[in-house]
């Protein structure tokens, strides 16, 4: 392998203070992957100080000039699309088409927020005639962005673009197994006009680097995407610091299919819902609630569509050996709980795939909503089918979950579609589709799925705070 990937601090590549590195693993082959620097609190301190030093200048840069830099970053992400997509697929194992789509999405985040820099930032309030009273939205300062390995560049862009548009500076920490595209984003940012220190990246493990970011006294906000236990750990540190957070955690999202739905389309969407990115997506539709009168027919359609998805072709590997073992542990739990694997439930026997971290796309029936495989986020291509009789029962099952990220409703009765969508405890609900979302739509969770919202104009409110100013015009 080539030289290890370095941190990006104050506009340049910087090795770890301690010099430690981590050997990567290619998830498709189990062979060697990218070697990355392993940072420590000392590297985080260097990066946070750079970000803090750049904060005032960036905040007071003319808003349109800030927007022009973000727009230039968007164009560069598209110009470098092939290179970035190849890098992402090598690190994550995901099909190239998926990486390409995700990086296009990253470019959209920068394009969208570039055009929002001149959004009115506050209000002028009418209190009484001799006072001029107004509010301002101010950047928070240094924002920590801690992202996972499932959509590396896309999720970094999702947090960084609005944070930069709102006038903050950033210290980002990508997952150690998928760091390359985030460093590439920081480098592109510097090349396209972000002043040194505005966008920094520190590589390494969450326990070391992530913790140091959350603890650093100059960090004023952390956006974290990842698991519930780590989100809780960050929350505990943040409680002591009174640090605002955006937490985008897990899901066990219900996809409700009524008998009057377009069943053929619903089946294809239901399969896409749990197999996209090999199920390694927080918004996967992993609980398929099916009206009992169509249960047999619909299950057969889902199983048939799932059989067509071949590991190593349409479906990539699990990201790491650890995640691969986790999914296999849930296969054993499912068997112990008495669930029936209608398809899948193991690793593919294909010898070409033996060295990679592949699992079979899996559909379980014979499942009740109290089983662990119906309650816990597996983060693999695994769906459970649970029957229901009535609309009320479907809603109750959907909401009987620790999570509340996404919901789906398939029906031809539009009144029911709206009733159910508004009854589901989740940050977003899709009707007669799955994951038809875009940069304009705010995204986030209820309950253990987190709080705060990313995307849309709403995200800017989570990267700024409001100040009220009152000025006397006349009199004493």
């Amino acid at each position: 392998m080539s030289a290890p990937l370095l941190h990006w601090i104050d506009g340049k590549a910087v090795p770890s203070a301690g010099g430690a590195t981590r050997a990567g693993t290619n998830p498709s082959t189990g062979g060697p992957g990218a070697e990355v620097s392993l940072g420590t609190a000392a590297d985080v301190d260097l990066a946070v100080r750079a970000a803090h030093g750049a904060a005032k200048g960036w905040r007071h840069t003319n808003s349109l000039d800030r927007g022009r830099v973000l727009a230039a970053i968007s164009r560069r992400l598209l110009a470098d699309l092939d290179e970035l997509a190849a890098m992402e697929s090598a690190d994550t194992g995901k099909p190239l088409a998926l990486s390409t789509a995700e990086i296009r999405g990253a470019a959209e985040y920068f394009e969208f927020y570039a055009a929002l820099v001149n959004l009115p930032v506050g209000e002028v309030l009418d209190i009484q005639p001799n006072l001029h009273v107004y509010t301002l939205r101010e950047p928070l300062g240094v924002v920590g962005v801690i992202t996972p390995w499932n959509l590396p560049l896309n999720q970094a862009a999702r947090a960084c673009a609005p944070a930069l548009a709102a006038g903050n500076t950033i210290v980002a920490k990508p997952a150690e197994s998928t760091s390359r595209t985030t460093v590439a984003l920081a480098r592109i940012g510097s090349e396209e006009g972000l002043p040194p220190g505005v966008f920094n990246v520190v590589l390494g493990q969450g326990s070391e680097v992530g913790t140091a970011i959350v603890r650093h006294p100059l960090v004023r906000k952390v956006a974290f995407t990842g698991s519930v236990p780590v989100g809780q750990e960050i929350g505990r540190i943040a409680a002591d610091r009174i640090l605002p957070l955006t937490l985008e955690l897990g899901g066990k999202s219900a996809n409700i299919v009524f008998a009057d739905a377009d069943l053929e389309f619903a089946a294809s969407e239901a399969v896409r819902a749990f197999t996209t990115n090999a199920g390694q997506v927080c918004s996967s539709g992993t609980r398929l609630l099916v009206q009992r009168e169509i249960q047999e027919r619909f299950t057969a359609a889902v199983v048939a569509a799932t059989r067509k998805l071949r590991p190593g072709h349409e479906v990539g590997p699990m990201i790491t050996r650890g995640q691969w073992e986790t999914v296999q542990r849930y296969f054993r739990i499912a068997a112990e709980e008495g669930a029936v694997a209608e398809v899948g439930g193991g690793v593919p026997l294909d010898s070409e795939l033996a060295a990679g971290f592949y699992v079979e796309p899996t559909v379980y029936s014979g499942v009740t909503n109290d089983m662990r495989i119906a309650r816990e986020e597996i983060f693999g291509p695994v769906v459970v089918i649970i029957p229901f009789e009535t609309e009320d029962e479907a809603v109750a099952l959907a909401n009987d979950s620790d999570f509340g990220l996404v919901g789906g409703v398939f029906t031809s009765d539009m009144s029911r579609a709206i009733r159910v969508a508004e009854s589901i405890e989740a940050g977003q609900v899709y009707i007669n589709s799955w994951s038809t979302q875009s940069v304009q739509m705010p995204f986030g969770g209820h309950k253990h799925s987190g709080y705060g919202r990313e995307k849309g104009i709403e995200a800017l409110n989570h990267y700024s705070h409001i100040k009220s100013i009152s000025m006397r015009l006349t009199g004493r």
């Binding site: 930032v121 506050g122 209000e123």
Partner: protein
């Protein structure tokens, strides 16, 4: 109007329509002319009301404009105080619901229950809704980029200001409600108002104006008449 046509209290309310309320005074048309309002149920004359013309409009607009003068009590009022007045107007409509219902029923001919269960309660809702708005009318603060002063810092903001005198021309199908739908938002934003009710249905507005006047001074100039000149001449500001 035939004696004994209406109950004495209703008769008194109807009598209010013989004058217009302009600048806090009850006045007839400058020309002295009047015209009859008919009861559509039997064709009988209910009351003779002033036949205003452009001169009366000038007088009403001048009064409304004077009430809008900067530094005057209406313009100096806090948004909270303006909201309270509109809330009070809602209370007045509610307290006088039966009387207002009777008047609109008499001169529009609609069954009184339509007034009791729709026009009047809806009018109250409209007023209460807009009573909450004066404290929430805001401008924006805007992060401008000024190319000629790159790097400069600016305080740029917008204000939503009242437009001034508002003319409210109201039809006969929902006489009270249509007037209030125009009156409430205009008052909430700090405007002053000249109302011209329909020639067929001017009576309920006269009662409303009278009840307002009796309780507090709303700077509304109500011109309760058929302004025949209105179709030919525009409402224009008074000559100074």
């Amino acid at each position: 109007m035939t004696d004994g046509q209406f109950a004495p209290t209703v008769h008194d309310d109807i009598e209010l329509a013989r004058k217009m309320l302009i600048g806090g005074e009850w006045v007839g048309a400058i020309s002295g002319k009047t015209f009859p309002v008919y009861d559509p149920a039997d064709g009988r004359v209910i009351v003779e009301v002033p036949a205003g013309d452009a001169a009366d409009v000038d007088r009403a607009v001048a009064a409304a404009r004077a009430a809008f003068a900067p530094g005057g009590p209406w313009r100096s009022m806090t948004p909270q105080a303006r909201g309270k007045l509109i809330w009070k107007l809602a209370d007045l409509v509610e307290q006088n619901a039966e009387r207002l219902s009777m008047l609109d029923s008499i001169d529009s001919g609609k069954p009184i229950n339509e007034m009791r269960f729709f026009d009047v309660p809806f009018s109250v809702d409209v007023l209460r809704y807009y009573a909450g708005w004066p404290t929430k009318i805001t401008g924006d603060t805007i992060p401008i980029s000024y190319p000629a002063a790159s790097g400069g810092r600016f305080h740029a903001y917008t204000l939503k200001e009242p437009v001034g005198v508002v003319g409210a021309i109201v039809p006969w199908n929902l006489p009270l409600l249509m007037a209030i739908k125009k009156l409430a938002p205009a008052l909430a934003t700090g405007c002053t108002v000249v109302i011209k009710p329909a020639k067929q249905t001017p009576i309920s507005i006269a009662l409303l104006a009278w009840r307002c006047e009796g309780s507090f001074t709303l700077n509304i100039a109500v011109i309760g008449s058929n302004i025949t000149g209105l179709k030919r001449t525009r409402i224009r500001p008074p000559t100074a």
